[in-house]
């Protein structure tokens, strides 16, 4: 092979499971795909703080409050790791964040749904973090080194997120009738949006093929979604609750659960910005950023003064 045949060398590395590192040659499209995916992922972590952050002030016990604060704070940390791995691809964090605020970059649509009751903290942990984990476990083996390593760190924390969510629901399911109803209602509202988290059907997803070839992804949307349904259909029994799908049924032939059709109109509507909370979420992020402007300016100005003083002392 010609040593200067970069594309061939690149694909060879991918095929032999060698991680691609920041300074390695990579096709432009690979870089672009990664920047898009990692930044979307980073934004999802940060925007994802909002629906759960919404209940920190009202958590029903001190223990739950502490756990929820720690959980939401973890997500901020995930955002940081991911913005950093995105930077290794040559985009600044500032530019990446600007793309979110301008509406150019997307984040997971799941966070455009409102958190109406305390039980939503449980449903999010169980279903939303649960769905995220399946995706992220796969991404621990993604071909881009910094992304894979960020995922390994993140996955360690995610299993705590799912457990605390399930534990909230489990406690509700053993509680009063009101608590049980609250639990079922949250599952009803979060189930379908969680299934949508895996993205469009394989037959409609135009990025999947190339991403699989580059080993950015290793499972298709539909494969991951099926894995998720199989997992939740069993776990929901422990809660003595049901998933809101009449067609959910064990299929002895496929050895998987069959499930009903996702409302794809709703899916695309929320993606396009018409979800119940798209505006609130983006506004909240923009507001935090804008109101933080003077703070960042001050920190910069102070650091500059300090650097000047130090130089003076050194001289």
């Amino acid at each position: 092979m010609d040593l200067h045949d970069f594309p061939a060398l690149f694909q060879q590395k991918i095929d032999s499971e060698t991680k691609i590192e920041p300074l390695d040659w990579m096709p432009d499209a690979y870089r672009k795909t990664l920047i898009r995916q990692i930044s979307q992922h980073a934004h999802s972590e940060v925007v994802g703080m909002l629906p759960e952050g919404n209940w920190i002030s009202r958590a029903p016990s001190l223990k739950r409050k502490a756990i929820l604060i720690a959980k939401v704070q973890d997500e901020a940390g995930h955002g940081l790791y991911l913005y950093s791995s995105c930077e290794t691809l040559g985009t600044s964090r500032e530019a990446t964040i600007n793309d979110l605020h301008s509406g150019k970059a997307k984040y997971s649509s799941i966070f455009n749904y409102p958190t109406l009751t305390w039980a939503d903290m449980g449903a999010i942990g169980w279903l939303v973090d649960g769905a995220a984990i399946l995706n992220q476990v796969m991404l621990c083996r993604t071909s881009y080194g910094p992304y894979a390593r960020a995922m390994v760190r993140i996955c360690k924390e995610e299993s705590f997120h799912q457990r605390q969510g399930f534990d909230i629901l489990y406690t509700l399911s053993k509680g009063t009738d009101e608590q049980k109803a609250m639990c079922q209602d949250a599952i009803n509202r979060w189930w379908w949006p969680s299934l949508m988290m895996f993205g469009p059907k394989d037959s409609e997803s135009n990025n999947t093929d190339q991403s699989m070839k580059w080993k950015i992804k290793r499972k298709t949307n539909d494969e991951l979604r099926q894995q998720f349904v199989d997992m939740c259909a069993e776990q929901v029994k422990v809660l003595n609750m049901t998933l809101p799908d009449q067609e959910l049924k064990w299929n002895t032939e496929t050895q998987h659960y069959d499930f009903g059709e996702i409302n794809w109109d709703e899916f695309w509507n929320v993606v396009k910005g018409n979800g119940p909370c798209n505006k609130e979420r983006l506004d909240a992020r923009r507001k935090a950023h804008d109101e933080g402007e003077w703070v960042r300016e001050a920190a910069k100005a102070y650091a500059k003064k300090r650097a000047g003083k130090n130089k003076h002392i050194a001289a």
């Binding site: 703080m49 958590a59 029903p60 109101e291 920190a299």
Partner: protein, 271 residues
């Protein structure tokens, strides 16, 4: 036990539980305030930092509440009346405004980032000095809680000091903003160093810290940080007080309404 000494023990216990509640309420209310920044901070790293402080002081509050509950439950066992068990949650979520004993400073609004970090600095500066002494309390439980918390508070003080300096000596705007916050918060600093009855009653036995003696060191540190930040300490400010014995600003009612909502709306549930 003769009647008189029994009454004395009961009083002592009330002073002790009041003192514990005061310490717990301080931390809980400030944790509640700070945690509102989670997801809304000016920089992701600082969002994490303020949330961390929130978690630390919430942990302290829980330790003090749990100890209070322990004392209250054991003294109830001595009397025959069957009363529902006191827990950290019943103390946090089922007491009303007038029973909260936090100082007024911690219930003040977050305002902008400058006001929040200034409030943290003024409070951590006090809490650091307090815990330093409380580590030697004759009450072993209190001493243990303080010993555990002092490391955290050392960091809170360092972090908030750095922010005061950064904003004071940053840009003209940041200097102006934090100066404004100093004027808003300063009236609430005096109260911290006036011993409440429960503090007075417990200092002789070396259980509580005499807060009046902390004031000089607190002022010195504040003056030093302000000087570095090119900020000035206001003079002749009328002091607002009352929080430590349950006379609060109107703000606390709203904090409690939100914080206690679930326990009030769904009484007696396990969460």
């Amino acid at each position: 036990m003769n009647k008189n000494s029994e009454i004395n023990t009961n009083n002592k216990n009330t002073f002790l539980t009041d003192y514990c509640l005061h310490l717990a309420d301080n931390s809980l209310i400030l944790a509640q305030r700070n945690s509102a920044w989670c997801g809304h901070g000016p920089i992701l790293e600082q969002d994490i930092a303020i949330t961390n402080i929130s978690l630390d002081i919430l942990g302290q509050a829980r330790n003090f509440y749990q100890y209070t509950a322990e004392i209250l439950n054991s003294s109830k066992n001595n009397s025959s009346a069957a009363v529902t068990e006191v827990t950290e949650d019943s103390l946090a979520f089922l007491r009303d405004n007038r029973e909260f004993k936090n100082c007024l400073l911690v219930e003040q609004e977050n305002g902008d980032w400058g006001k929040t970090i200034l409030r943290q600095f003024l409070f951590s500066n006090y809490q650091y000095l307090l815990y330093l002494q409380l580590q030697n309390s004759a009450d072993e439980k209190l001493a243990a809680i303080a010993t555990k918390a002092i490391k955290e508070v050392t960091y809170h003080l360092k972090w908030s000091s750095e922010w005061v300096i950064r904003l004071g000596d940053g840009t003209e705007e940041s200097h102006q903003r934090i100066t404004q916050s100093i004027h808003e918060l300063w009236p609430f600093t005096e109260e911290i160093f006036i011993n409440a009855k429960y503090e007075n009653e417990l200092t002789e036995d070396k259980i509580a810290v005499d807060v009046s003696v902390l004031k000089d060191a607190w002022y010195k540190k504040t003056a030093a940080i302000f000087a570095e930040a090119t900020l000035t300490i206001p003079e002749n400010v009328f002091a607002q007080k009352g929080g430590k014995h349950g006379a609060h600003t109107e703000k606390l009612g709203y904090i409690l309404a939100e914080m206690q909502f679930m326990q009030r709306a769904y009484p007696g549930c396990i969460w």
